[in-house]
């Protein structure tokens, strides 16, 4: 019989002094165990929340450092502008980033706010590079070719 059930089984009978002492001991032990369990759960929860927060903050910071993705700023992302300057041809380097910056400032930012506007800028910059940069166009063609080859083999086997 467990301590708990033994303690409960004496309920209703007139208890002796010894059994009362024993029951008090058992209850005290149970109380201690519960308190220990509760404190253990709270410590584990706090630790997991802390770790999760630390990881998310760390990942966010690392991403921001790596990509310049400061989502709350109301300026066009500098890293995206840098990539546009890097991958676009000389005639496009003035017109396309200029158009993107102008549209960002005049219509997208007031309409959607800094977070969505910066996402929009990144998406447009990526599309512009993919469509205007020769190397990325060839890489896209090569990638699609490989996918087609894989599908052809998968169907054939």
């Amino acid at each position: 019989m467990s301590d708990k059930s033994e303690a409960l089984s004496h309920a209703g009978k007139r208890p002796s002094r010894q059994s009362l002492k024993r029951r008090a001991k058992i209850l005290a032990r149970l109380e201690n165990d519960t308190a220990a369990a509760v404190s253990l759960v709270s410590v584990v929860t706090a630790a997991s929340i802390g770790v999760r927060e630390a990881v998310s903050i760390g990942v966010g910071k690392a991403l921001r450092l790596a990509t310049g993705l400061h989502l709350d700023r109301d300026t066009p992302p500098k890293s995206a502008c840098f990539l546009l300057d890097l991958f676009l041809s000389k005639p496009d380097r003035q017109s396309i980033p200029g158009d993107l910056v102008e549209e960002f400032e005049t219509s997208i930012l007031p309409k959607y706010g800094p977070r969505r506007a910066r996402f929009w800028f990144w998406a447009q910059a990526a599309r512009a590079i993919a469509e205007r940069n020769r190397l990325s166009r060839w890489m896209l063609v090569y990638g699609l070719g490989r996918v087609a080859e894989w599908i052809f083999k998968a169907i054939g086997s």
């Binding site: 066009p76 502008c81 005639p91 496009d92 003035q94 017109s95 396309i96 980033p97 200029g98 158009d99 993107l100 910056v101 102008e102 549209e103 400032e105 005049t106 219509s107 447009q124 599309r127 512009a128 590079i129 993919a130 469509e131 205007r132």
Partner: protein, 106 residues
């Protein structure tokens, strides 16, 4: 009617946008015009690819404008429709009319 190059759907829309915008036709305004009037979402990459192709054929010409503060100090590239572009646009319209494209079917 000449047997020259036939304009594609998107090329026709871009040329019509240039006709409407006159001297103020550059990337942002062309894109906005197409979005508002034709209801088509266009990326700058696709737009400039089409404009470059038509410039190579002599349908449009471009010039670099002045850099402005709102563009982060970058210059605009203005586009203008040329005589061969207007001719191609008219030929395409005639072709559609001849084929009965202006008649409501059904």
């Amino acid at each position: 009617m000449g047997g020259g190059y036939r304009l594609g759907d998107f090329e026709r829309i871009v040329l019509l946008a240039l006709v409407r915008l006159r001297e103020n036709a550059y990337g942002v305004t062309i894109r906005r015009e197409i979005e508002e009037r034709a209801g088509r979402e266009v990326s700058y990459g696709a737009l400039y690819t089409t404009l470059d192709r038509m410039e190579a054929k002599g349908y449009v010409s471009s010039r670099i404008g002045e850099p402005t503060q709102v563009r982060g100090g970058r210059a605009k590239r203005y586009f203008q429709i040329e005589a061969p572009g207007i001719r191609a646009l008219n030929e395409t319209r005639e072709t559609i009319a001849n084929m009965g494209g202006l008649v409501h079917v059904g």
